[in-house]
């Protein structure tokens, strides 16, 4: 240890003996941490988990001071573990064992291992060697929670994240004796880094991608993977893109890392997140009153650390972990921190990886005292080696009582909503849409919109008391759109929900108030009394496709919609891409060069290869580009000027406000189609005026295409699924 270090250390409270005064680590005999090889890449975004550089060890520092003794807990002396990289670990409640996730060689995956701290013995937990198992967390009841890319649904591909293209992580658990491994229901993208709270619930980070939404939020669930619900990050509570590595500081209060999704080496600012209303308990600050998104708040404990993906600064740096040592208003934290920019672009330019080391952080004064930092390696995930009280075990929720294999979804009163009122009787039903990503043979893009894959499982009718209920396949992410009798969306619920077999995911209303109770008449709802509608709950994944024209599931643009355009719209003299009264246009002009090019409304299926000057644009087919419009192309990036009178006809996710349907005027669909009853009573139907009237089935395809996201591809035309 250098003289400078000794001087710093001697100034730290608690160094060299307890007689020097009190400090937050005084009652801690030792800390455990991971010593991991430093790296420049492989941690590009917070969801990357496959990074492998051999040479990681589990270490102990005792006492937890700079002059403490560092000993290796695992596993350099075992030949099978020589090449191990360790991504994460957790300490058991009795502090007698550690579960860690390690990858033993380049050609193996991350698996789970149990280390007995008394004997030093290690055993690998029995998990699928063809899948990764990471981010372990001890649960009460001798279980371990983990994140994995193993798939709960036999034969189905695991979801691939739409942007970073990796196989997504989902949650599951296993008993510490290796028995009873369970995989939980799936989100459409990643679920990572969990912590168990004093209530016994689990808090974890979920990547939400639904149309324009892209963020890593905190969610809560029961330890058996049921009752997943929002905790923090939505409903206007968020302050940055992603929240992860949360650790409970007090009931309802967690310390987490907040950052952009990428470029920060999975590190960021330290946030004190309160999940509910705060109150003081014996000098501690709790936040467990009325826990909901509406009441959640946050305090930034490291105000100078950038919350976006820009480089940080000297003496500011970024934090990899933060472990709360107490529950004061401004808690003391054991942190892993690196100085400097800690940003992949800047560090890459300098050719220097960040250097994470261990520090004691005083969040009130913003000061850091060094504890341990070994040059050339990362010291991360520090945890005091002390026992803690195990939270209570939460018993598994009862099944839905209707079907042990399916998920029961619905609402007690769809008219109970926090998002503005529905007109009485306006909601005819709720369209339930399954989500999937490119792993189902589509490739990497579903079309010009941001939407992912969609398959309409069906429309569940809203009953007289406002309730609705349906059975949907388990473990499948779905989202919901309240629709009127014209099958046009009234409101989109922009979240994916998913449930385990037999689970009930019954809401109070349609995005009901997060802080009030939904009140209904005594007794069971009409929807349950009548019985939930079965929305393909037993239909295997790859058979969830359109088989009847009156019941569209996926809507492939080229085979379901293009024939409509060809037969009724794009004939010569109509919407055929020829300039004229029938076809509006837009012109793109480059002010610098003066060059311009015109695109004319065109509902043919011709491929688009649209170039002007040096810029090239792609729009799938002419009809797809014509309806979704130039707005999808982010032309502003090139400082181009768009003029002309061609509007955007289809707003993905919003048929009601899409101009197309102001022109075509959809007819009633429910309970039976009626071409004489139109969404807009005073407007004509352009297709009737032109003498090529659309059928009710054709209208339904167009409306659902728009509401479901405007995709070009679906399962029905996915290239990878064609014979």
């Amino acid at each position: 240890m250098t003289a400078l270090a000794a001087a710093v250390v001697s100034a730290a409270a608690g160094c060299g003996g307890k007689e020097q005064g009190t400090g937050p680590l005084d009652e801690v005999d030792a800390i455990v941490f991971i010593e991991r090889a430093a790296r420049m890449d492989g941690l590009g975004d917070i969801f990357q988990y496959e990074s492998y550089v051999p040479g990681a060890r589990l270490m102990k520092l005792s006492p937890p001071t700079a002059d403490g003794t560092v000993t290796e807990l695992c596993c350099g002396d075992l030949p099978e573990y020589e090449g191990a990289d360790i991504i994460d670990y957790d300490l058991s409640f009795d502090a007698r064992s550690i579960v860690f996730s390690a990858r033993l060689s380049e050609d193996q995956r991350y698996g789970l291992f149990l280390l007995d701290l008394e004997s030093g013995g290690v055993e690998q937990l029995p998990t699928d060697p063809d899948a990764d198992f990471v981010y372990p967390t001890f649960l009460p009841g001798d279980r371990v929670l983990f994140a994995t890319n193993a798939v709960v649904e036999e034969g189905a591909p695991q979801f691939e994240d739409e942007y970073e293209r990796r196989t997504t992580l989902q949650l599951g658990s296993v008993a510490v004796d290796g028995s009873d491994l369970q995989l939980y229901s799936r989100n459409l993208s990643h679920r990572i880094t969990s912590t168990v709270m004093s209530t016994g619930e689990v808090l974890f980070t979920q990547w939400d991608h639904l149309d324009e939404l892209n963020a890593g939020q905190l969610l809560r669930m029961n330890p058996d993977g049921t009752r997943v619900r929002e905790a923090f990050g939505k409903e206007g509570t968020g302050i940055t893109n992603s929240y992860y590595k949360a650790i409970e500081a007090a009931p309802g209060r967690v310390i987490a890392i907040g950052s952009s999704r990428d470029r920060t080496f999975q590190s960021g600012a330290i946030l004190d997140i309160r999940l509910g209303e705060t109150h003081e308990v014996g000098g501690e600050l709790w936040a467990d009153i009325e826990m909901s998104e509406k009441n959640a708040s946050t305090r930034i404990l490291t105000a100078q650390v950038p919350l976006d993906d820009e480089a940080s600064f000297e003496s500011v740096g970024r934090y990899y972990n933060a472990y709360p040592l107490n529950s004061k208003d401004y808690p003391d934290l054991l942190v892993s921190w690196a100085d400097g920019p800690v940003q992949s672009d800047v560090n890459g330019a300098a050719g220097v990886a960040p250097d994470f080391g261990l520090y004691l952080f005083d969040s009130k004064n913003g000061t850091r005292l060094p504890v341990y930092d070994k040059k050339g390696t990362w010291e991360i995930n520090p945890i005091p080696l002390t026992p803690r009280t195990a939270p209570p075990e939460i018993s598994p929720a009862g099944t839905n009582g209707v079907d042990d294999d399916a998920v029961l979804i619905g609402a007690m009163n769809v008219y109970s909503t926090s998002l503005g009122d529905f007109e009485d009787g306006a909601v005819w039903g709720v369209r339930v849409i399954e989500g999937f990503s490119g792993e189902e043979g589509v490739g990497d893009d579903f079309g010009l919109s941001e939407a992912e894959g969609a398959a309409t499982l069906g429309v569940a009718e809203v009953r007289e008391d406002g309730s609705w209920a349906a059975l949907v396949p388990a473990n499948v992410p779905v989202h919901q759109i309240a629709v009127d009798k014209y099958d046009v969306g009234l409101r989109v619920e922009p979240v994916w929900i998913t449930g385990r077999p037999g689970e009930s995911r019954f809401c109070g209303g349609c995005h009901e108030s997060r802080s009030a109770t939904t009140v209904i008449e005594p007794g069971i709802t009409d929807a349950i009394a009548i019985g939930p509608q079965d929305l393909m709950s037993r239909v295997p994944r790859f058979e969830r496709v359109t088989t009847e024209p009156t019941r569209p599931v996926g809507i492939p643009w080229d085979t379901a919609l293009q024939p409509i355009f060809d037969n009724k719209c794009a004939m010569s003299g109509c919407h055929d891409g020829v300039a004229g009264a029938a076809n509006k246009s837009f012109t793109i002009t480059d002010p610098e060069s003066g060059q311009s090019q015109e695109f004319i409304f065109n509902l043919t299926g011709d491929p688009i290869d649209f170039a002007f000057g040096e810029a090239m644009l792609s729009g799938y087919s002419a009809s797809h580009l014509s309806l979704l419009g130039a707005a999808m192309l982010e032309l502003e990036e090139l400082d181009l000027v768009i003029t002309g009178d061609m509007p955007t006809y289809v707003l993905p996710g919003d048929a009601r406000n899409s101009l197309l349907f102001g022109v075509l005027n959809p007819p009633r669909q429910f309970p039976e189609p009626d071409l004489d009853d139109r969404l807009f009573p005073d407007l004509p139907d352009h297709s009737v005026e032109m003498g090529f009237p659309l059928t009710a089935e054709e209208f339904r395809l167009l409306v659902e295409m728009a509401d479901n996201g405007g995709q070009f591809y679906s399962r029905e035309n996915a290239p990878g699924l064609q014979p």
Partner: protein, 285 residues
Amino acid sequence: MNHRTIARPIALGAVALALALAAGAPDAHAGRGGSFARIRSATQHGNPDAIVAELEKAENIPCTSACMTFVLELLDHDSYAVRDAAAWWFARRPAQMVEVTERALDRLASGSSVEVRSAADALARVGHPRVVPQLAAAIARSGLSDEARAHAVRALGKIGHLSANPALAQAMGDGSAEVRREAIQAWTRILRQSGADPVVALVTDADVSVRRAAAQVVGRFPAAAARASLEGVVVSDPDPAVRRNAAWALGRIGDPASRAALTAASEDASSLVRMTARAALRHLR
């Protein structure tokens, strides 16, 4: 405790300041806020994660020919992650995707090993199942490096179409362990794949990484035809990871005939094997 020297942090700081002044503060949300300038800047600075991040943020921007040429060159980057992200970027642009595909197919047929490798990585993202025959032909092309052929195999897996099965089965008999291992892993990525018969023979392959992969894949499907080989491997293979994977596979197959072998494995000297063997015993019928 060690302290780092002062010189490097100052250098980093200077670079950071310069980049901050040049780049501005982008939106942190995925898929937005990108530009050709930022892609170029990240490429010049060299960190693959940064290049990938900028490509992801620029997914929808239209591109001048200079921009297109630049990103095309990233299809040949040293980093696989960058090549993959660049190909994904083109996959979001149908017209350019056609051009990239045609270029890649030309390279598969007559390019150097490095060109074939890069072409395969591009096709893994932009390729349609109809390019499966050309990828299969590249795997069989003589004179190519093992790496190039392995990447062609990988591309078949990523495209994921059942028509690739014959080529993958053939690749499992390749002289290169790298190619054989890649073929086993690609097999699992084929959509609606059923069975793993071509993989069974590789449970006793001469190469340890091939045996590891084969054992885990025959357990995934699970392939009853592999049982006898697995029962031998689980107690006798010199590699503990192979023994562990074999134990897992036997549990998935679930045949009670495996009880003796798994019981012996439950007392294996290696900590990788024991709990997996005990769990497998619980799964026997």
